[in-house]
Structures are given as C-alpha cells and as structure tokens.
C-alpha cells in the first residue's frame, strides 16, 4: 500500500532504486527463507497433508480421511504414552522447578561464591544427552551401580534393583536422569531473574522484620513471575516433546512402560513404516504446543505481563 503511493508520488526517477532496494533486502533474507522452507515449512505442511493418508514413507499415499486420527484416540499404546507424558509433565513442573527456585533463592543471597556455584550447577546442562545418559546408565545399573555400592557398605535395600529395566521404575528413573541435566539450567534462569528484582523491596521487607520465607513468597516470587510463568508453560511443551532420554535409556520399554508420544511416533514412522499415521501423531504433538503457546500469548496480552 505505502509502496504504491510512494511510487506514484515519487515518479519514475526513484522507482528503480526502490525496486533495487527491495531486491537487495530479499537477497539478504533469501538464505534463511530457503533453508527454513525446505526443512521446516515445506515438510511441516506436508505432514499435515500426509496425516490424512496411509503413506508408508516411500510409496504412494492414499487419502483415508480422518481414519488416522480416529485410530490415534483409540490406540491403547498412544493413550498410555499420553498418560506417561502427563506424569512426566507433573514431575517436571514440581521437581526441577522447586529445586531450581530453592537453589537460586539461596544463591542470590550469598555474598561470595555465586559464580562458582552457578558454574557447577550448569555443567550437566552443557553435556550431550548421550553423555549424561552414559553417566547414569552405569550408576543405575543393577550390577555395577548405586545399589551394588550401597550393598558393599552393608545396606542392601537397593541391591539388584534394575531402575531402567523394571516396568514400575523405568519412567521415573528416566525422568530422574533428565532432571539431573535440566534443573541447573532453570536455576541459572531464575537467578538472572532474581537479580533483576529491585533490592529496595528487600530492604523494606527487612525493616518490617520479614524472615527469609516471607521475603521469598512476597517479593522474590512476584518479582520473577514472568520468567516463572514462561518456564512453567515451556515445561509443559517440552514434556510432551521429550524423546532423547527415553529413546537412549529404555527405548520406551520394558513393555511400553516408559513410552512417550515422541518414541511411539518414531517407532510408528521408521520401524512400522506407517508414516501417515505418524504424521497424525505429529499433528497432535504440534497442536499441544500450539495451544500452550497461544494460551501463553493471550495471558501475556490480557494481563500485560512483560516477558
């Protein structure tokens, strides 16, 4: 609109430079646009189309309507996986967030050694998933892990416990390992947010004789609310996308006891060659993210939060 009026007003003398400027702008954004459409945009859209077909990933795809979606919500595997994702979400909303809030609050009041502690807490986060999985596979193994070590000291309550191989423990053990790598990252984010809280508020609270708990509850928590809310919502999204740890540590087993949506999707697509059905699962996963992101954006706009 503005370009049209400008063109009429400015006359032919300016037309070529303006067109040229546009061209230059397009050339500068072209690399991003091309790789993005090629890798994310194009395949993402074709996932939507394939979710209505019986595509096997290689050959011809036939339109099957909403059959894949009907099957999705009737499959016991998928429903069990969704349940595991919900348990996973609950675990990650409670355990790492409380540990990180506690650690960050105590650290923010420390006079010396902040940088040292922050570095130590952050180290697990920079390790690859495969490395931290390696660390913990050994510690959790029944023959050469923590159970055997405690048995050597005379405490054999955990001896022979197969944390990753017992159907009732597998999911929790994988979540425990993922939390080890994850919570330090949250702590660093919370610490940064806490350092942005106005120190005068703490001064005032101390003059009123507030103890540490009241300071945390009435000043720190409200002060970091935007960061906290953002991470709570991101925790929900990430909990539904979790893949690496489950795939590496248990492959979803034993007997599907630690299967999550992403591992079921991966198996469906690449072992069972049911790419159309897997695409329907991908749409379910993406719509969960989309709903959470939309909810977050609406909340932010309505309540005028600054994140």
């Amino acid at each position: 609109m503005t370009s049209a009026t400008a063109r009429i007003g400015a006359g032919p003398a300016v037309r070529r430079p303006r067109r040229r400027r546009r061209l230059v702008a397009w050339l500068f954004i072209a690399p991003l646009a091309i790789v993005n459409l090629l890798v994310i945009g194009g395949p993402g859209l074709s996932s939507l189309l394939f979710s209505f077909t019986d595509w096997d990933g290689l050959g011809q795809a036939n339109f099957v309507g909403i059959d894949n979606y009907v099957e999705l919500f009737q499959s016991p595997n998928v429903l069990a996986a969704i349940w595991h994702n919900l348990l996973w979400t609950l675990f990650f909303l409670i355990v790492p967030i409380s540990m990180a809030l506690l650690g960050a609050f105590l650290l923010s009041r420390l006079r010396r050694g902040q940088v040292l502690f922050r570095t130590l807490y952050f180290i697990p986060y920079v390790l690859a998933t495969i490395v931290s999985a390696t660390v913990w596979r050994q510690i959790l193994s029944p023959d050469a892990g923590i159970g055997a070590a405690l048995a050597n000291l005379g405490f054999d309550g955990l001896a022979g416990v197969n944390f990753l191989g017992d159907p009732s423990l597998a999911l929790g053990s994988v979540a425990f390992v993922n939390n080890w790598q994850w919570w330090g990252f949250l702590l660093v984010l919370f610490l940064a947010a806490m350092q942005g809280v106005n120190p005068a508020l703490y001064e005032a609270a101390r003059l009123d004789g507030a103890n540490a708990w009241r300071e945390f509850w009435h000043i720190t928590l409200p002060g970091i609310r935007p960061t906290l809310m953002f991470l709570v919502l991101m925790t929900v999204i990430w909990s539904f996308l979790v893949f690496d740890y489950v795939y590496i540590l248990t492959q979803g087993g034993p007997a599907g006891s630690s299967d999550v949506l992403a591992t079921v999707l991966y198996r469906t697509a690449f072992s069972e060659q049911r790419a159309g059905y897997a695409s329907a699962m991908a749409m379910l996963l993406s719509s969960i993210s989309a709903v959470v992101v939309a909810g977050y954006l609406i909340l932010r706009k309505k309540l005028d939060w600054d994140v």
């Binding site: 890798v39 993402g44 690859a128 942005g196």
Partner: protein, 306 residues
C-alpha cells in the same frame, strides 16, 4: 519472548553487589550491623546441590580409570590403580577419532552457516527495505517453537529424493534451518541497539549494501556472532535425534552416535564406555569453563527461545 536480563547475568554478581553495598548510606548504630548475615544452613544446601550436580561426574571419571573387575567390586569411589590406557582403548574401539573429526566438521559448518544466514536475515529485518517485517518476525518465532517431530518424517523422504540423506551436508543444512531462527532474533536485538549514523556515513561514502554489511555491521555485532556460533556449534555437537535419523554410514557418524553405538554393543564394559563418554564430553567441558559467561548468556537466551 526471549528478553532475559543478560546484563545482570554477564556482570559479575559479586562486584555489583559490593558496589550496591558501598552506595548504601551507613547504618544507624544499633540497627543490625551485618545486613547479610552468614547463613551456614543455606551454604550447606547449596553444597549438597553442587554435590548432586557434580558427584555423578566424579563417579564417571573414576570409572573411566578402573578395570571392569574393579567396577563390579567397588562401583563408586576412587580407582585403586589409574588405568590411563582405557582412554586409548576406548578411542580405538569406539572409533572416536573418526567421530570427533566428523563432529568437528558438522559443528564448525553449522556454526559458520548459522552466523552467515542469521546475520544476513537480521540485517534485512532491521536495516533494509524488506516488505512485511512483522510477518517475518512471526514466521521466525513460530519456527523456533515448532517440534522437530512435526517435519521429521516428510523431511526424510525429501532428503532421500534430493540425495541429501546419509550425508553430512544434508545434516548440516537441517541444523542451519533449525538453529538460525533463534540466532536471527538474537542478532536482530543486537542490531537494533546500533545507531543508524554509522551506516549513513558509509552510505554517503558510496558503499554498497554488501560492503556496508560486511565492513560496518558485522564488526559491530561481533560479540553477538560469537555467542551465536558457540551455541549453534555446541547444539550441533550434542544433537541426537536428527543425527540418528539422517546418518547411517559408520564413516560419517558424529561422535554422539559413535558413543551411542559403542554403548549398545559394549553395555557391560563400563570402564571403556565411561572413557569413551569422557572423550566426547572433555572438549565441551573445557570450552565451557574457558568461555562460561558467554556460554551462559547464549544458552539462557537460546533455551528460552527453543
């Protein structure tokens, strides 16, 4: 969406705290002279948490130096005899040399490509006459939060058709696409802080846009570029899902997959598996300790934008 307070992160917290304390007026006599009393209980909790974070790593290092027999005798604790030869054996058996070389190629190419793609896009979005700027920003924000599983299955078939499946270049292109949206937003925020006078002076001297971009803008956003390169390179080095899906040939495997397959086959020899894991982790830990401030800054922003 990604505005973390980086200034508070990068500035040494202790010195700022000291400055704050110095700026405070002296207290009246008799009123709690020590404003921040020592808190032995808090320190104890912090130490326990630090032990939780690093203790397992210590076990990992100890085990990489033991013999398998000693691990089953004493799974946790110092090795009685330090078997450094484990590292040479693991390096050989797990084909770590090839893996590290492949990973280095992938990580460096990813970092360079993301820097080029993201800085050019950020320049177009902040300085050039690009139509629909806000639509671009929205598209980029959406593509940073799209789950990989959404496009994984069709992408595999596209990549097979294009001959990019099972090639390092194919994997690198995927990393470019996946990591550059966030990098673009980060560099965009850097560019927004640079006054326009710099480029106007260069424009008056008759410099073209490309020259302006490479000679004036890139040097000014250099710290941002380093952060972007570091985060993208490390993410590519650590990445698992895309690598395991798109690379099959054992000569092309990045080190994460060398370690993965070694672990699958040698599930019982914990000393060699630990040694191989440490070989993969060592470069990352060293780089992190050397550049930790830039790392934490980049990663905290990167994580939030994921």
């Amino acid at each position: 969406m990604i505005r973390v307070q980086t200034d508070t992160l990068t500035a040494p917290a202790a010195s700022r705290r000291a400055a704050r304390a110095a700026a405070r007026p002296p207290r009246r006599a008799g009123f709690r002279p020590d404003h921040r009393p020592r808190r032995p209980f808090s320190v104890l909790i912090l130490v326990v948490l630090a032990f939780y974070a690093t203790g397992p790593l210590a076990v990992f290092v100890f085990n990489s130096l033991k013999s398998p027999a000693e691990i089953s005798r004493s799974p946790i604790g110092l090795p009685s005899e330090w078997r450094w030869e484990n590292f040479a054996t693991a390096f050989e058996d797990a084909n770590m040399g090839q893996g590290l070389l492949n990973s280095a190629i992938i990580a460096v190419s990813t970092a360079l490509g993301v820097c080029v793609i993201a800085s050019m896009a950020a320049y177009a979005m902040t300085r050039l006459d690009l139509p629909g700027k806000s639509a671009w920003i929205l598209y980029i924000l959406v593509s940073t939060s799209v789950p990989i599983q959404l496009f994984l299955v069709p992408l595999l078939s596209w990549w097979s058709t294009l001959g990019l499946y099972n090639t390092q270049f194919g994997l690198i292109v995927i990393y470019w696409a996946v990591y550059s949206p966030f990098a673009t937003m980060l560099l965009r925020s850097f560019l927004l802080t640079i006054p326009k006078e710099y480029e106007e002076a260069a424009r008056l001297d008759g410099a073209g846009e490309w020259r302006l971009f490479t000679r004036v803008m890139v040097p000014m956003i250099w710290p941002g570029m380093l952060t972007v390169a570091l985060v993208a390179g490390l993410q590519a080095y650590n990445e698992f899902l895309l690598a395991v899906t798109f690379i099959q040939d054992s000569q092309l495997l990045p080190v994460s997959l060398s370690l993965y397959s070694f672990q699958q086959s040698y599930a019982v020899d914990w000393s060699l598996v630990s040694a191989a894991g440490l070989i993969m982790a060592a470069p990352v830990i060293v780089v992190f300790l050397l550049l930790q401030r830039r790392f934490i800054e980049g990663y905290t922003q990167g994580g939030l934008a994921n």
